[in-house]
């Protein structure tokens, strides 16, 4: 097949990249968006400050495989939890949730338990994040019908 063309055989991973709650630091999210796109993913970015309710509705309407949430303001325990609850309530537990931002090491096990994996901090190599999202997307797809 011709190189430089989208390969029809492989379905691109769809990711919702979101920065919820009062947190306007969007530089990092743009860097991630660019890297995900260059890794062949379809990145849905809804702008700043979506509420957990909006995030879950968008994730369902766009049929994403993964929600990638970034938070730098310390409210991850509240917001991530809320997203997980809403996914469950809307029968969309199949969608994988990956977290990142300023997350103290002590919070990580609890987040993992909730189902939010990754929880990467500053300085994480981009390839680690992309590999992890690919892995979670594969799991998410196997749960879809």
């Amino acid at each position: 097949m011709a190189s430089g063309r989208n390969q029809k055989s492989s379905r691109p991973i769809r990711v919702l990249l979101a920065k919820p709650a009062i947190d306007g630091h969007d530089r990092g999210v743009y860097v991630l968006a660019r890297a995900f796109r260059d890794a062949g993913m379809e990145v849905i970015y809804p702008g700043l400050l979506p509420t957990p309710e909006e995030m879950v509705r968008i994730a369902i309407d766009e049929d994403v495989d993964v929600i990638a949430i970034s938070l730098l303001n310390g409210s991850h325990m509240t917001i991530f939890k809320k997203v997980m609850e809403l996914l469950k309530k809307n029968h969309a537990e199949g969608i994988a949730v990956v977290g990142g931002g300023i997350i103290p090491a002590g919070d990580k096990p609890m987040l993992e338990k909730m189902g939010v994996s990754g929880n990467y901090g500053p300085g994480t190599p981009m390839s680690d994040i992309i590999d992890h999202i690919k892995k979670r997307a594969r799991e998410s797809r196997s749960k879809k019908w």
Partner: protein, 307 residues
């Protein structure tokens, strides 16, 4: 599959979303899925929005959509963005402008990447419209990718086409005279609060006056920042929709779709033929045959061996 089709008929958002993904990824599975539940005559009317990047298409839709929905239409929005020709990935950012209205008016919106398609749309667009028709949608706004002069595929599916322009495109309007300028039903000069809106309107009026025959094309001035002219534009869309023969649009859209799918299947067969007959390429590269003859010969091989 059955549960998915049932969910679709109920209008379940998750099922609609899943069906559109299936249409994008596995056209064959999609064809099985809609068997018996779709009716070509119920395909939604399509308002197509096209125009160069950055002229405010998404912002305009954000303000136009609630007005159209308030007229009792079950409205969906499909926004198309370009896929990277290198990675196949895409940045789907139309929601940045639209999210507020979409969430407050409960409109179903879906972003679709072009995945290599040219002409301003995605290959799965008709399937997405069929999906929405099964879920009871009667009107869909389709936003094309930031389009250039030759991206006129929206013509195949939309009954009303808006070409969104902005002040300061003066010379570009000249350049666009063939192509997108010809397909527009309504010219929208967005950002009309900016200097140059009058000149833009004059350039379009001058262009329209050079066309022969009776003209039904309209020009609207809008400003999304000042929220001006949007209601008038919605009125123009309704006026245009009343003046057209919907049936002929449906026929055209479906015949183009069959044509597209047939070409896609043929193209896959040609890929296969090329892979199975490496000597066809090597003969050509050695100068024994020219490319045209090589292609004819390649197709003859298929005839000889049957399919």
């Amino acid at each position: 599959m059955k549960a998915l089709a049932d969910g679709l008929k109920r209008g379940d958002r998750g099922c609609i979303a899943r069906c559109i993904s299936i249409a994008e990824d596995e056209p064959e599975a999609f064809s099985k899925l809609i068997k018996g539940i779709y009716d070509p005559n119920r395909i939604p009317r399509v308002i197509g929005i096209t125009g160069p990047p950055g002229c405010g298409k998404s912002s305009l839709i954000a303000q136009l959509a609630p007005i159209i929905a308030s007229h009792g239409n079950k409205l969906g929005i499909i926004a198309i963005d370009a896929s990277s020709p290198f990675s196949g990935g895409s940045f789907l950012g139309n929601r940045i402008r639209m999210e507020e209205t979409v969430s407050s008016s409960n409109i179903f919106m879906r972003s679709i990447a072009t995945r290599g398609a040219k002409g301003g749309l995605a290959a799965s667009i008709m399937s997405a419209l069929i999906t929405l028709s099964c879920a009871g949608f009667d009107t869909v706004i389709v936003e094309s990718v930031g389009a250039g002069q030759a991206d006129v595929d929206i013509l195949d599916i939309a009954s009303t086409i808006l070409l969104v322009l902005a002040p300061g495109l003066g010379d570009e309007i000249q350049a666009m005279k063939a192509g997108t300028m010809e397909i527009a039903d309504i010219f929208v000069i967005n950002k009309s609060d900016l200097e140059g809106a009058y000149q833009a309107k004059r350039a379009i009026t001058a262009y329209l006056s050079t066309l022969s025959g009776p003209q039904s094309k309209m020009i609207a001035n809008t400003s999304c920042t000042k929220k001006e002219g949007i209601k008038d534009l919605a009125g123009m869309i309704e006026k245009h929709e009343k003046s057209i023969n919907t049936k002929s649009f449906i026929e055209r859209a479906f015949s183009m779709e069959v044509n597209r799918i047939a070409k896609e299947l043929l193209s896959r067969r040609v890929d296969g033929l090329l892979a199975r007959n490496p000597h066809a390429m090597s003969n050509m590269l050695k100068g024994r045959v020219d490319p045209y003859s090589a292609a004819v010969k390649l197709l003859d091989t298929e005839k000889k061996h049957g399919k």
